[in-house]
Symmetry: C2
Subunit: 325 residues, 2 copies
């Protein structure tokens, strides 16, 4: 399969091998990723895209695996995209527990892909959104995206999801819980995992208070709180019930269209931004006027704002030129 159209056709026909290759293409980024998404995009089947986020150590991978097993029992096909944070320099993946996910990998109805994060062309959220398209095109009915819930990147990745599950856990330090403050508010559903641990009642009580104080009333959905012990499959059916109920709510209220539009807008902006970055980064020729401009910025002879405007013009000219080829 040498081009996007052929690979897209194979993915749409249900080939697992093509699905795996498609994910490799979008992870690598560049023209092949673009060609594949262009070819697939209009053919995506309706899927429920669920983001699972929470601090490291919250047991997200175990929870996702348990949800996958439960969804299979309900007759759904499942795709999982697990995203590892890693160094922008060395790229070592932090979490070592991906292997556990393979317990369900013998079932062709569950497809799990772990995505490294280092140096992904066009950014991690670009790659994650493209990968979700590929999983949807392959006919996966429930697509779960799992990320560590810290930082703006994570919030960006979660912007692909119809339903966001935020996983809390008893006994993590206040420091790391505080970091989650930004994530808490994007939750459509709260899961308290490891609910058999000491301190679970306190965590649940604190979350309940936070929810009661919450100003969030944007779509008449009250985020429920589900306790579970993913490692023993406790509370998983109830959690999947809530996930499904949220999707039904989105459709019943028409909110699904608002979310789809928000997802599309954020994605388009990020893609255009990555085109801008690609315009400058490959240039290292000193005789390039833009490189000279950057040099002048470095010497404080040119304002960075003026140089940025020149870069934008260049990115657009490059785009116009390539679209006339």
């Amino acid at each position: 399969m040498t081009n996007g159209h052929e690979l897209a056709a194979a993915i749409l026909s249900g080939s697992i091998r093509a699905l795996a290759r498609g994910l490799t293409w979008v992870e690598a980024g560049g023209p092949r990723a673009e060609a594949l998404v262009d070819a697939l995009y209009g053919h995506a089947r309706p899927a429920h895209i669920v983001g699972i986020t929470g601090a490291p150590g919250a047991g997200k991978s175990t929870l996702v695996r348990a949800l996958a097993v439960e969804a299979r029992a309900r007759g759904l096909t499942v795709g999982v995209l697990a995203i590892d944070p890693s160094s922008p320099f060395s790229g070592g993946a932090i979490l070592g527990d991906r292997i556990r996910m393979n317990e369900v990998a013998g079932d062709a109805g569950v497809f799990i892909r772990s995505m490294a994060t280092r140096g992904v062309l066009g950014g991690l959220s670009r790659a994650a959104a493209d990968a979700v398209d590929v999983l949807c095109a392959a006919g996966r009915q429930l697509v779960m995206v799992e990320t560590v819930g810290v930082g703006q990147d994570e919030v960006d990745i979660m912007r692909v999801a119809h339903t966001t599950v935020v996983v809390s856990v008893p006994g993590l330090g206040d420091d790391i819980q505080a970091l989650k403050a930004g994530i808490i508010e994007i939750a459509d559903i709260h899961a308290v995992n490891k609910a058999d641990r000491e301190g679970a009642q306190r965590t649940i009580a604190e979350l309940s208070v936070m929810l009661a104080m919450g100003t969030r009333k944007r779509d008449a959905w009250e985020p429920p709180l589900v306790s579970c012990v993913a490692s023993r499959d406790e509370g998983i059916a109830a959690l999947l019930d809530e996930v499904t109920r949220h999707f039904e709510h989105l459709h019943a209220t028409g909110e699904i269209h608002v979310r789809e539009r928000r997802i599309a807008q954020a994605r388009v902006i990020r893609l255009a931004q990555s085109l801008v970055a690609e315009t400058l980064r490959p240039l290292d020729r000193d005789d390039d006027p833009l490189v000279q401009d950057v040099e002048r910025v470095a010497r404080h002879e040119l304002s960075p704002y003026r140089c940025a405007r020149a870069l934008l013009t260049r990115a657009s000219d490059r785009e116009r030129a390539s679209s006339h080829v």
Copy 2:
């Protein structure tokens, strides 16, 4: 002061009030921030820009305050920019310990500004870089930027710095330490704060191993490790010595020019990207062709890549039009 040139002149003349107002302008972003930076940029005095990063709870604010006092004792004027992570939705600042910084605020030679992070137009790293320009233009000789060391945003913010100090601390959980893996490698200097605590020797030993294994040899600088107890001013003089020694090393080797160029390039790219985002975000008119394109992306009728290319063209056209006014 109604325009960028007047405010720039007042900042350059040393007015503290103008400095405070300039920081407010760049924090708000938009045309005033741009006008101010355009007016200031060519007049910036040479400053040493030092990034201080590390996990929440590492005692960064206390460390920065102690460094500021030490730098003052050496006759340097100091500017501090403290950046709070906060929710993208509710915007509550997480850290409550900014107030302690005010102990040194009675000294006009130390100017401290805490920057909120919610909804900063054009992004937080844009605002931080502009604020550093303002502090440099105001003649601050040592400019410290303090951020929590988690996530890509933080790495972006650190890209303004000549010298990056990564603060570790004994006894934080492995989870949060692991998150720092990406930050560890951007360190020019490692500080182990709260070195009187239990577990300090272990933290120092682990960092030493990590440093010995490090592949970083890019500029013949071996990142030193300094133990300190910032709350008792222990090790602070030694830390500032290393900070100064690193700056001298950058100048002696010519590496300063490489860094300045890298800082300029990253900043220009991010600025151009924020211009792209601004092109789409204010549009909510349904009859706008670009808004209709986004709607078609949401309905899976148009590929997000194609829509992104249309957005880029629009951003550039908008730019061309505004530069002809």
